[in-house]
Symmetry: C2
Subunit: 179 residues, 2 copies
């Protein structure tokens, strides 16, 4: 066993909320989940087959129009057991973030290096854009307090992503002003 296959638990988690097709699962990673985990369709489709073999999920066939075949997946009882077990087990935190920008800074020994200004400016711009994007999504989804309870998990991760980006931008700006 080389790694951990967290992806399968995420798929179980998504399917525990509602049944979805492989395509719809892929979209989830392109959107909200993408903040904290990434996956492409080429990884998802084979895994769905494997998980069905293991009876963690099952599918029914659907047809759109006259021909377009879809597989709508649902979680099985067995799958839900596995999911709950994963949630309950201790989460060993390893700071597994890979930040290429910070690494580049690390290799610039000189505080007066000419490249620093443009590098910081670029990152500040990118992170501010992203922060703005997150904030509008938050506005759209959770403008009413009632909805914070209805989709508590979703609210939490968006909230955390915003908090994290806000802090990152602030750090960038502080360092930039101290150059």
């Amino acid at each position: 066993m080389a790694q951990k296959n967290t992806l399968q638990f995420i798929i179980l988690g998504l399917l525990s909320q509602e049944s979805m097709t492989g395509y719809e699962l892929t979209q989830s990673f392109a959107h909200e989940i993408g903040e904290f985990w990434q996956a492409k369709h080429s990884q998802i489709y084979p895994l769905l087959n494997k998980m069905e073999d293991q009876q963690l999920i099952s599918h029914v066939d659907e047809v759109t129009g006259t021909k377009l075949a879809k597989k709508r997946y649902s979680i099985t009882q067995q799958g839900d057991d596995v999911l709950q077990e994963w949630i309950a087990e201790p989460t060993d935190f390893i700071s597994s973030s890979k930040d290429e920008f910070i690494l580049k800074l690390y290799f610039i020994k000189d505080k007066n290096d000419k490249r620093l200004t443009s590098m910081f400016n670029e990152q500040i711009r990118l992170h501010k854009e992203w922060l703005q994007h997150l904030k509008s999504r938050n506005e759209d989804l959770f403008n009413k307090r009632s909805q914070q309870n209805a989709q508590f998990g979703h609210y939490l991760i968006l909230n955390h992503a915003i908090d994290r980006e806000q802090n990152y931008v602030q750090w960038l700006e502080t360092q930039f002003n101290n150059l």
Copy 2:
């Protein structure tokens, strides 16, 4: 070309500071660099050979005691060119962080779920421990302002790691108190 091989640039960056053995490079990842990138010796040794083939680095043999053979690697001019190119090129930020704890929260729909208390407590403990560790390292290394300039890059990444953890802990505690 499937991925990007950032690791090779990090090795170049480390070797641009001083010549090192494979073992010493491995130690770097276990310590400061480890905050932002991870690598094991089993990945480093083969890559060093590959990079030497490409003439990005070169080595001289060293012997400790009477027998113990080491290879001390240095960066070549070609290697430094490649390194500077990497630093200069735009850093496309993708929030490639993978946070398993946040994902678990996402799948807990109910704000009153019994598991939340212990989950938050565990994470708060782990992150506080880590924060404390980072702070002592910072104390040890940069207690004098002069040293902040001498090792600017190193100071920056430690500083950022601390800032990030501090914010994470704060977020955890705020959410915990709102449960």
